[in-house]
Symmetry: C2
């Protein structure tokens, strides 16, 4: 039931807020690439991860990881051994994004198709 018509102002604003929270959680330039990298190549260490994600700087990777940890998507595992080893991995909670990402991907693919030919540069993020 996608954002239906008959509703109170209260419900509407709440729904609006929820959607924006969700957008905020996966928004930005790098959160998705980080998730993708961890999904594809499994748990990784900081520099390893940075190399996996082409183009990201240490500073940005660091702040993204912190936010995603706050959101519960990522676990920062510290192995206090001979040399301390820090590993980042996706939590099970990250899987709850499945529906969201699925819907976004499906709609996005369809939209890309529809928009094809038009001034793509104006409706897509810069490369």
């Amino acid at each position: 039931m996608p954002l239906e018509k008959p509703h109170t102002a209260q419900e509407c604003t709440a729904a609006l807020g929820a959607v924006q929270d969700a957008l905020y959680a996966v928004g930005g330039k790098w959160k998705l690439p980080v998730i993708a990298a961890l999904r594809d190549r499994g748990p990784q260490r900081f520099n390893e991860l940075q190399r996996s994600i082409k183009g990201i700087s240490a500073r940005v990777l660091s702040t993204e990881l912190k936010q995603m940890e706050l959101n519960g998507f990522i676990h920062r595992k510290i192995d206090t051994g001979a040399p301390v080893v820090v590993t980042y991995e996706l939590t099970p909670y990250a899987d709850t994004l499945g529906n969201v990402l699925g819907a976004l991907r499906e709609w996005g693919a369809q939209h890309r198709n529809k928009i094809r030919g038009k001034i793509t540069a104006e409706v897509s993020p810069p490369f």
Copy 2:
């Protein structure tokens, strides 16, 4: 099927791109409020719409409307009559966002609930 594991690099990058296109289309601070306003109160004229959406400036409303028109969400209807009347309305295509917004809302609500108590200010957009 939410972004499954076994896939080629090609497919993965494509999916990534699609998701980011979708995020871009509904992202930003005002696109959702604009959609909500048009949904709730029907087709409206520019100033009317600006009054409906508390806090938006004419400049920002103008650019948002343009982008959303490019994306096919909005139709700018020009009635060339005694005084020219311009009306903005949602297109049927805007309805295809239903699943996306539904998924975002559902996950967002659940997430908000889970995060409750934590440093909400740090994971949510400013008010």
